[in-house]
């Protein structure tokens, strides 16, 4: 059930007896802007480091530990045209403890750290700020060490046609230079007072008590203008290509496709099955033909982002085989367009999709993410049973039609230096 705590601030209480914990997630959402992404990432790290009343990490961590290891997590993500900062807190339900009132204390802690960040004279605490800038810089540099992450980002830069989409959801190193403790606090104040906020509380809880407890947060009203959620790549027939050399033993070959598959829009359900048949599962065309039949790769898979209408293929291969692997990938896409797949593999894909849908209902975080996705797309949340019916009713012709609209737009190849 939803309650408006202020205009633009909604509380969603989700009672469930399945878990030994209560999960709280607060989402701060705004339109994606290139100059805000890195700042918001830094904010999300600062929130999870210390605060005005818990100024050292030891104070901060001690408090969470005394709440029986309450887990505070902060993260950033993109959903189509939106950028989201999430603050999550998971606490053990006191039913299983020798102490009462843990949830109430945990919510009070959350309120305290959000309204009293580690700020003096309108600026984030200098030392904390400096250190978190350094840590974030190190994280960006570490991406270079992880070849999978590195080639994923390189592919996105190639594929997307707007700057804010090219930047990863967690920002980039070169933006760190211009951020100041004063400027960052202004960004934080705006986030708290102007972003659209959704709060989810899931667990074995009594709704009235939760609503009461959250009155502690004195949210102000904010005006929210509905915007377009999905990102759409401009039509083009051009394929962007890039090859890069680094010191490594296994080459990475990644491809990006424009799909026109969007969350719960027309060909969403057919799109799920298309992706499953193409590279989403071990019985898929890519896995069977590239890995199993020809032993050309250790990993190969495809995945779709239905908020940007794109599909990505990631593979780890022997670099001599790149051209060959590329040919097979396009050949298999064509096979799907031509209807070269049997009913059995379609049925198999449907069973697997149903399975993962049901499984997502066994995780508090997935349940919250699903509720949030429907909030963002301004569509009523569809019941699992109805979703499954829609998956069941997808026809072969719809899958072929979806495949025909899928278009290769970018490919990135990371290879080793010759010895």
């Amino acid at each position: 059930m939803q309650t408006d705590l202020a205009s633009g601030v909604q509380l969603h209480v989700m009672p469930s007896e399945k878990f030994k914990t209560v999960t709280i997630t607060i989402k701060f959402k705004e339109m994606l802007k290139a100059d805000q992404i890195t700042k918001r990432t830094l904010i999300s790290n600062l929130i999870n480091t210390n605060s005005r009343h818990y100024p050292t990490q030891t104070d901060f961590r001690n408090t969470l530990s005394e709440l029986y290891g309450a887990r505070l997590s902060t993260s950033v993500s993109k959903k189509g045209q939106y950028h989201i900062v999430s603050v999550g807190l998971t606490v053990v339900n006191d039913k299983y403890l020798k102490e009462e009132g843990i949830l109430k204390k945990a919510i009070a802690f959350l309120e305290n750290i959000l309204y009293y960040p580690n700020v003096y004279h309108g600026a984030f605490h200098k030392e904390t700020f400096k250190r978190e800038i350094e840590n974030l810089r190190d994280e960006y540099e570490a991406i270079y060490d992880d070849k999978q992450d590195y080639s994923t980002i390189a592919l996105n830069e190639l594929y997307f046609d707007t700057e804010e989409q090219r930047i990863p959801s967690f920002g980039r190193e070169k933006d760190l230079e211009s951020i100041t403790p004063e400027g960052l606090y202004k960004t934080y104040e705006k986030m708290l007072s102007e972003n659209e906020i959704d709060i989810f509380v899931l667990g074995d809880i009594v709704e009235e008590n939760i609503i009461d407890t959250f009155k502690l947060f004195k949210f102000n009203d904010r005006e929210i203008f509905p915007q377009k959620t999905f990102y759409e790549l401009k039509e083009s027939t051009e394929v962007k290509r890039k090859v890069e050399k680094q010191d490594l033993t296994q080459a990475r070959y990644n491809l990006a496709f424009n799909t026109n598959i969007f969350y719960h829009q027309n060909n969403y359900y057919a799109g799920q099955i298309f992706n499953g048949l193409f590279g989403g599962y071990p019985h898929s065309k890519l896995f069977m033909n590239v890995r199993e039949k020809e032993s050309l790769a250790y990993t190969i898979s495809s995945g779709i982002d239905t908020f940007t209408g794109s599909m990505f293929v990631y593979s780890g291969i022997d670099q001599k085989e790149a051209t060959h692997v590329g040919e097979i990938i396009l050949k298999e896409l064509n096979a799907l367009r031509q209807g070269d797949f049997n009913d059995e593999s379609v049925q198999q894909t449907k069973e697997l999709l149903k399975n993962s849908l049901y499984q997502s209902e066994d995780s508090a975080n997935s349940m919250i993410e699903r509720a949030y996705a429907s909030k963002i797309t301004r569509e009523p949340q569809i019941r699992i049973e109805e979703w499954i019916k829609k998956i069941e009713s997808v026809t072969k012709a719809e899958i072929m039609d979806t495949a025909k609209r899928v278009q290769l737009r970018a490919e990135f190849l990371l290879i080793g230096k010759e010895d």
Partner: protein, 430 residues
């Protein structure tokens, strides 16, 4: 079936040992959609020297054979097992560790068929030299992929120092060279020795009906023929005269150096609750010394010597016993010397005080309870944390019963400089 209730946790397990020796443990959780089953054998990468079933002499197998066997179990005469599961809407997987090999599926429908598929494919091997040779290509790629992971390299660098003669220092998947020696015949020898039901355990949790399920399992097992259970004779290289190698280094294309400091334990033969107490106590000790509430953590973090990659771990398995601590750092020499010092003076550390101990205890209890939300976690813990009749559900009350004095004793017994080692990965010039 034996019924064991953990009232405080609101959990009940059912246990039965079948006539063929297979241990079956059922943990129903009917609120969940999912059912998760894990079928495991007490056989991992370190079990390379043994007397094959029906023979009299010890034999040494190529490195990586347990993991190779795991891969090959999925291939059948008439197709691939992954395919059978996915037709039933289930996802299947398997993994090999130092001491275990496990096969699993999770599903939300067709439970009986999936369960029977799991039991049948693991109990019906089919290997040919042709398919074994083909698999070598895939496993070579897997080994190379791990070779590119600096975290993996630093960990095995440390293990090579701690266990110079012991298979615990060898990559679980083996090496590019060693897997070349693997044949279908060798796979069968390993299979028949270690995949006997008496060396195996089936754990099922999630949404299922107890009586019906145990009946299906009994029936499935009764229809199969096995040789009589015999004790498996394993052998490991003697470590009596080998010393821990104090340090090591490798250069890799990384931006920031990585270090690990480790201590090898005495592989004491603790059993039951005493073994689980040992595991919890060393973990408590590490949390007190290096955890996020310790004074050390804050100091190192503030000085920029560690970052979020900082980690510590205690590994306590059959034949393996060591702790490790470390992470990414700009000052590898300085961090190593600080960590070593802290370990050697652990028993006198100011972080080992009653107030801090209470906080660490509360956090540990809370974290354990949180992890019980995950069927996967519970299943894997039932596989790993098994010391006779003591299970993961005994952890909470054991944690409550441990005192600070116990931790100090453990610190004095465990830590000694002769069994300590360090390993670092440093940047290679690009």
């Amino acid at each position: 079936m034996e019924k064991i209730e953990y009232a405080q946790l609101n959990e009940t397990i059912y246990k039965e040992i079948l006539p063929n020796g297979l241990t079956v443990i059922l943990l129903p959780k009917i609120d969940f959609y999912k059912t998760y089953a894990l079928f495991s054998t007490n056989f991992g990468s370190i079990d390379q020297q043994f007397i094959p079933i029906g023979e009299t002499d010890f034999k040494k197998m190529p490195d990586g054979i347990a993991h190779f066997l795991e891969h090959k179990m999925f291939e059948k005469k008439d197709g691939d097992v992954f395919d059978d599961f996915s037709k039933l809407g289930a996802s299947a997987n398997a993994f090999t560790s130092f001491t275990k090999t496990a096969y699993l599926f999770s599903s939300t429908s067709h439970f009986k068929e999936n369960l029977e598929t799991l039991l049948d494919f693991v109990q019906k091997p089919y290997f040919t030299n042709k398919s074994v040779n083909k698999e070598k290509g895939i496993i070579r790629q897997e080994i190379q992929m791990y070779d590119d992971l600096p975290e993996w390299r630093v960990m095995f660098g440390l293990l090579e120092n701690l266990y110079p003669n012991h298979p615990a220092s060898i990559d679980i998947a083996g090496t590019i060279e060693s897997i070349e020696d693997i044949t279908a015949e060798l796979l069968y020898e390993n299979y028949h020795t270690f995949y006997h039901p008496s060396n195996m355990q089936l754990f099922v949790t999630g949404n299922f009906e107890i009586e019906q399920t145990i009946e299906w399992i009994r029936k499935n097992q009764n229809l199969k023929q096995f040789e009589e259970a015999k004790e498996i004779k394993r052998r490991y290289p003697s470590e009596e005269n080998t010393k821990v190698i104090p340090s090591g280094e490798i250069k890799l294309p990384v931006n920031k150096p990585k270090v690990l400091v480790g201590i090898k334990g005495k592989k004491n033969k603790l059993k039951g609750a005493a073994a689980l107490r040992q595991l919890i106590s060393v973990e408590f000790l590490l949390k007190l010394l290096f955890g996020e509430t310790s004074s050390t953590y804050l100091k190192l973090y503030d000085e920029g010597l560690i970052d979020d990659s900082f980690n510590y771990e205690y590994t306590f398995e059959r034949e393996i016993d060591h702790l490790s601590v470390g992470g990414d750092t700009k000052e590898p020499d300085q961090l190593i010397s600080i960590l070593k010092n802290l370990l050697l003076k652990a028993a006198e550390s100011p972080d080992l005080n009653e107030k801090h101990f209470e906080i660490v205890k509360k956090r540990s209890i809370g974290e354990s309870l949180q992890s019980f939300n995950s069927l996967e976690f519970i299943a894997h813990q039932f596989n790993d944390v098994q010391f006779e009749d003591v299970t993961v559900f005994d952890i909470i009350h054991l944690m409550e019963s441990i005192e600070l004095e116990d931790i100090k004793k453990v610190a004095m017994q465990y830590i000694n400089s002769e069994n300590m080692s360090e390993f670092r990965v440093t940047p290679k010039l690009k």
